[in-house]
Symmetry: C3
């Protein structure tokens, strides 16, 4: 017999009764606010076509690297979870078998945010009321599979049910944006915007860099193999993205290193990059320079710039060769911001009309580097606790380590940063609860007045993300 | 209508009722203890001349980089806050206009220590009982401005009112110390001592290094352009400072790197430094060697040595060029102590009669490097949470991360490290409250007995700073 | 009059009454579980000979670097604590005098785990009921000294009284393991196993490296000066250790750097190492390669591999030269795992049948590197909070910073890692209390159900260390 599943209304609130009462009151005012999701990776095709999701495994396990990385660490082969092989070789095709493997190891997720998000999905989205384990695996599978076949579980219906006011997806400059066009041309009024993520055309080390540059030229009608044509192509595509609602760009570099080269230096380096002749240092220099170029363009066109540095991508050589990118083998690394961002900040850091949002996977930077930088430079804001730190303890550390130096108003509210669509409300709910809990503690020890805390809770949940992302 | 301003007597104490009761009892015994301020940057001229402070803006905003850095990060120009330009160009001269700009953005400081310190100043020093915002800006301005014109708000009166037993200022070896002499010769009995901060004569990269060396020679009658005359000049000036009450030296280097060169090597490097021909590495080597020289002199003359490493000074090129040093653009950097301090420690680290107090802006060093070093070397003690970490959360992390390895008795109590004179009692009060709260938690979970905690609370607030700084 | 000594039954549990009640219930189920001590440094000779311990000072002070490092930091000379000099020169020989020096400075340990462990030993092992201070020093000395002369305080009797199910010691490949043989041949049934710690035959920088390699050859009958003979010798000794119950190896390197060289490269480097001609980088390369060799052998023979990196050993040059190794002067350093472990992980990281347990002295690696690595690679698990972090706050940070990404089931329970035999139950008790407290907080804010928490508490205290270490 599986145990009952029940989401406690006080979950994540601090345990002391006085503090918990304050947290409850603060949360009551923000829990129903619309979701602003300014940064994420849902697939616009879902909202364009509005087809049903396939089955429980394809929806919740196969695409979610948070889920399969933990199962893999316990010794489950990725192929047995249906993760597709790079060479198209055989993998498990029975979604129920995949689901059972997951269900019997669901206890591995105890204490993780994945467990919280999924329990929310099971309970709130699918109405399940027993816990997931080996015994309830089939019950779950059938219930979820059945629901997915109904109208109420199609992407647009869920979007509306979730109270999403606006959601951003992420596309590369070489994406044709057809799904966004299709959404725009449909009668559906859900607001789905894109974001400009140019990694494949600014990183000389990206697989097929020169090919992407070629495609970039085709889409823009510019000679993207010339430095000036290349820059113009960026400007054009940025405008195309803005026309599809984009208000931001996103840059996922290995480090926060920036540079500000002369046009001649940049051009020389660009030629080398096209020829595939950059040394690793030269490739880094080019990427670093392009951050500064992108920042300058943001100053022109008003797109908010996001910098997401610090992951060692594809750390596991065998998994990368067998299964490709994004298979749970990205590992954070030490990430510096002080000397690294200086060239960019010397160029544009004092511009009050520019917004650059910084993220980190290295929490040591919160109090040492990021809060001091954001608490000084007009152009800088801090993005929320990110990725591995998008979690209750991670969010608590973020606020504890940034607030005293940067305040609340140099931060931008929550990003869900996910492709796991069904978990989006759960993630925003965790963020709202943790912020209310943190604020409640400041109220309880008289660092804030409660009515100030209420205002901040609203700002963090709704006003700041809209304002910072210009949504 | 502005909201009421009220400092809760329980502020900063842990929220659980049992723990809070313990914290209250511990605090009751230390709240009225005299203030020992062994490290700070108040202006000795204030106490020498005892002239009234000018106006609210000149007192509380224009000189306080904690305040204007946050306003700057929100897009307010430094000139609009009256911060003087390096070229003497025009800046805001109306103190009331500056004050209003500050007041309408006071909400930006929510959750910061600046907010706590200022609210204390407003409430306790000036008796204000509504909160500062745009609506109360003028009320505040008039009340503070009026008070500053009275005898009770002159520097010496406030010094006495604040219960300061002793305060240290900081001067360079090329300072003539006239204000300290003037204080000594006055009938006033307030104890204001100096501290020896030789950055401008030990750092080859300091602007005008050779000029400072020249001035150093004039003041001491030594040939400071010779290595032996230079060292003798240090000994003489240290004695001069000690004669003005100094018990400590202070060293604000970019890193904790030290060296222990032969006399011949040091002399060669010194010549290069005088000629302005040091490479960056050579300049660092000279600075590092001078830390060891200073430590050896401390062993001779008994001055306590303070090392404050880890700030990237003047990170913002435009702000530095337009407004100069100390404008809120100093950013902490990763700071190592293990291999860095080894040359100095090999030279003098085992001396039980020497006291070297280490500070950090890199909190990762607390548990990894600083507590292990201080928990072993007889000469080492840990300074309190510093600068950006002089805050409730920063102090909590300091105790949580150092106590288990270094204990309480390898720490030295609190430093306010400030030029914001009026905030000094507020800062010491925050430190006493946070230490009592931390101790109360150890009592509540039975790691300490309450009467031990009371003894420690007294030691941290009063006995240890006097003992460690030999005051 | 010394104050009463009393261990509170609620010690270390969170202070709020609801949370404390949960912690109490969880702890009740694990407090009496047998002790699994899979990694430590007790002397097997104690259990082989079962002779009485000498006296209070020789038992509790002279060999315990946690104790004498703190006294040394307060200015007490190591010789005055009876720590033997490297040159055999005179040191204090009166154990009572040593004990008194310790007793009068026992307050220095307030807030440290040493204080908690020792108070447990005083109260629970020796039945003392006043606190240790100068006044009670002799009372303590006489009580402990008297007890040690009785049968009940001999090593085997204490082993049984402590409820130790199995304990691992650590020996080098050149150890003859006679004490383990003697234990095996005795009628006593206590389970004392060894562990394979090959530092002296894999580290070219180890004092007398070539001599150790010679001894390694004598013990194994292999030509250990040839690369293939050297590898075979490892295999043979590993088998010898396994025959004495070893289930693990232990590797105490300065960093986590690994390499995977070709046989020809490794052989060339090995020759250089034998000739004492390795540069520091080459020595590191050899050590790093040997980690990968050891991992491959673990895959063959099933020994669990432990990697303990990150200490700067013997930091204090004078203490090292006068007193030798392990004198409280080992200082942690920044330690990276991401690029450092990649060669080893590329070789064997995806093997689900291999177990590699990672430790750190650099807590910044918990959330940034270690939890992400262990939450992905099948071969990796995380060892508990180690050494300076084997403490209440250290354990709390470990769980707070690893659980959300790696879960509980990529960790392996507690290691006491100590030679302080009498403190072993105290250390395990602290770990159980802290884990129960952490779990209670997750239950209190509804991140876990209480019956799940109870299962995890049992797993962490008993099941996981047995399973992970194959005991």
């Amino acid at each position: 017999m599986s145990k009952p599943l029940r989401l406690d209304p006080d979950r994540l609130f601090p345990a002391g009764s006085g503090v918990r009462d304050i947290a409850r009151r603060l949360y009551q005012n923000v829990r129903e606010l619309p979701i602003i999701s300014p940064h994420g990776h849902t697939d616009p095709r879902w909202f364009a076509e509005n087809e049903p999701f396939q089955n429980p495994a394809e929806l919740l396990i196969v695409p979610d690297h948070y889920v399969f990385r933990m199962l893999y660490s316990d010794g489950v082969a990725l192929a047995d979870l249906g993760v597709p092989r790079a060479d198209g070789g055989p993998v498990e095709t029975d979604p129920r078998a995949i689901w059972r493997r997951f269900a019997e190891r669901y206890f591995l997720f105890r204490g993780t945010p994945t467990r919280m998000w999924l329990d929310w999905v099971f309970s709130e989205v699918f109405g399940l009321d027993v816990r997931l384990d080996a015994a309830s695996a089939d019950l779950y599978y059938d219930a979820i599979d059945g629901a997915l076949k109904t109208e109420a579980f199609r992407p647009r219906a869920l979007f509306e049910r979730f109270g999403i006011e606006v959601i951003a997806t992420t596309e590369s400059p070489t994406d044709d944006l057809i799904w966004h066009d299709m959404i725009a041309q449909s009668p559906w009024t859900g607001r789905v915007v894109t974001a400009y993520r140019p990694d494949n055309v600014v990183d000389p080390d990206y697989e097929g860099f020169a090919d992407h540059i070629g495609r970039f030229g085709e889409l823009t009608g510019e000679d993207t193999f010339s430095w000036s044509g290349y820059l113009t192509a960026h400007r054009k595509r940025r405008a195309d993205f803005a026309a599809r609602g984009a208000t931001s760009t996103d840059h996922g570099h290995a480090s926060a290193f920036t540079a500000d080269l002369s046009a001649a230096e940049a051009e020389t380096l660009f030629k080398k990059a096209l020829e595939g002749k950059c040394s690793p240092d030269e490739a880094a220099l080019f990427r670093g320079h392009m951050l500064t170029e992108m920042a300058r363009m943001s100053l022109e066109d008003g797109l908010v710039m996001q910098i997401h540095p610090g992951a060692h991508r594809n750390h596991n050589a065998a998994v990368f060769s067998d299964f490709g990118r994004d298979k749970g083998a990205d590992i954070p690394t030490r990430t510096g911001y002080v000397s690294e961002l200086k060239p960019l900040l010397d160029a544009v850091g004092n511009e009050p009309d520019l917004t650059i949002i910084l993220f980190t996977l290295d929490e040591t930077a919160y109090s040492r580097e990021l809060a001091p930088l954001a608490g000084h430079y007009p152009a800088l804001k801090l993005g929320p606790a990110w990725w591995f730190h998008d979690s209750p303890e991670g969010m608590r550390r973020f606020r504890q380590q940034t607030t005293e130096t940067a305040g609340f108003y140099n931060t931008v509210g929550f990003n869900d940063d996910t492709r796991a669509f069904l978990s989006i409300p759960a993630r925003h709910d965790v963020a709202r609860r943790m912020d209310c809990g943190f604020l409640a503690e400041l109220v309880a020890d008289h660092r804030l007045n409660e009515e100030e805390a209420a205002e901040i809770a609203y700002d963090l949940a709704y006003r700041l993300p809209k304002q910072a992302y210009r949504l």
